[in-house]
Amino acid sequence: MIPPRFEYHAPRSVGEAIALLGQLGSEAKLLAGGHSLLPMMKLRFAEPAHLIDINRIPELRGIRLEGQTLVIGAMTTENELINSALLQAHVPLLPEAAQMIADPQVRNRGTIGGDIAHGDPGNDHPALSIALNASFVLEGPKGRRTVAADDFFLGTYMTLLEENEVLCEIHVPAFAAGTGSAYEKLKRKTGDWATAGCAVVMRRQGGVVSEVRIALTNVAPTALRAEAAEQAILGKELSVANLQAAADAATAICDPAEDLRGDIEYKTAMAGQMVKRALVKAFGRCA
């Protein structure tokens, strides 16, 4: 399969990329890792007249610590997340979860920013970003703006990112000492999207959950923050009844699409299971 014809552009700076987006409008698509876009183009689900390849923009890559915030360039690959000593030390959920995404070859190309900006509810970084309380730096002709992961995802393939903007950075708060986290992803095989997934970031005091964020992958048109589930477990012990209450609150907001991975009832039930597993694992990792 060969993609449809297009003009290829390879800007060397974010400014150049934004100028191209301005000129070419809705005819253009940004090319990040390409492991969603190129297959979609082969299948004629997408036929952009122009591809703007942002792989040659050095300022979009790399991971640094600024105060208590990890600043991750949008074009940082999954493999770079996995191997980042900074992330392993300050946000261990990201390198751990990135290992559950796709396969080694794809992780050499696939980027955190592409995974987020694509707006596919099957992607893993949307729920991870929500659980991590991340924010995204978007740059357009009028400059930069920062939006919370909580507000970014509007629908399947729909996000707050405007046609003339580039997602430049992902900002993730460094974990406070004692924070526990987990990502539980049920998948049929390597390279598959989640049947259901759950990301949890948590702190505890004694035997009680003192802070928690819970987010779900691929069980609705977007990644979901499960706020009612958070409330169900906040200030409580991780008893069987409390875990079930959190899982029930999470499954109540699920609205999955039936596909080869399962029907609606199965996917919803599995979301509940992933919530329980992630809560138990994250709790066990709290100090």
């Binding site: 060969i2 014809r5 492991h35 190129l38 297959p39 390849d53 290992q99 080694p104 070859q105």
Partner: protein, 163 residues
């Protein structure tokens, strides 16, 4: 659409070619350079038969544009054997019967060779994870694992001998 002139070093040799932007790396290798070792399988970046190295990293060449490799270095299975001597992973697949029909083998060899540079002394689990982007429909993978273990041992022995 205007063709783009690209310069790519493939197995150590520089090639300058004008390509359509939509030309995938796998088609560039097979049709422009006549390097048909890397195969075309699923075409959706799942099966791994098209695996080659780009700038020292394993990639699936069915999901990369040739223009993206402009100025870069590509290594394919044709470059694995040196001076008529099989690479350790090729020898391993031969000795341990790591193939039956052979269709997945070029991708397996390229991924295995790169994987053993990333992790020279892997456990069986690490091999399985490291090779998880390559599918084989014949062998049940057991002999592929053994082949890579053979190659790891051989590479370690030659490293020790050289030291």
């Amino acid at each position: 659409m205007a063709k783009k002139l690209i310069s790519v070093t493939v197995n150590g040799r520089v090639h300058e070619k004008a390509v359509e932007p939509r030309t995938l790396l796998i088609h560039f290798l097979r049709e422009e350079l006549n390097l048909t070792g890397a195969h075309i399988g699923c075409e959706t970046s799942h099966c791994g038969v098209c695996t080659v190295d780009v700038d020292g990293q394993s990639v699936k060449s069915c999901t990369l544009l040739a223009v993206q490799c402009d100025g870069g270095q590509v290594d394919t299975v044709e470059g694995l054997a040196q001076g008529g001597v099989l690479h350790a992973v090729q020898e391993g697949f031969y000795k341990e019967h790591g193939l039956q029909c052979g269709f997945c083998t070029p991708g397996m060899l390229m991924r295995a060779a790169r994987f053993l540079q990333e992790n020279p002394n892997p456990s069986e689990d690490e091999i399985r994870m490291g090779m998880s982007g390559n599918l084989c429909r014949c062998t049940g993978y057991q002999n592929i694992i053994k082949s890579i273990q053979y190659a790891a041992k051989k590479l370690q022995e030659s490293a020790t001998a050289a030291a």
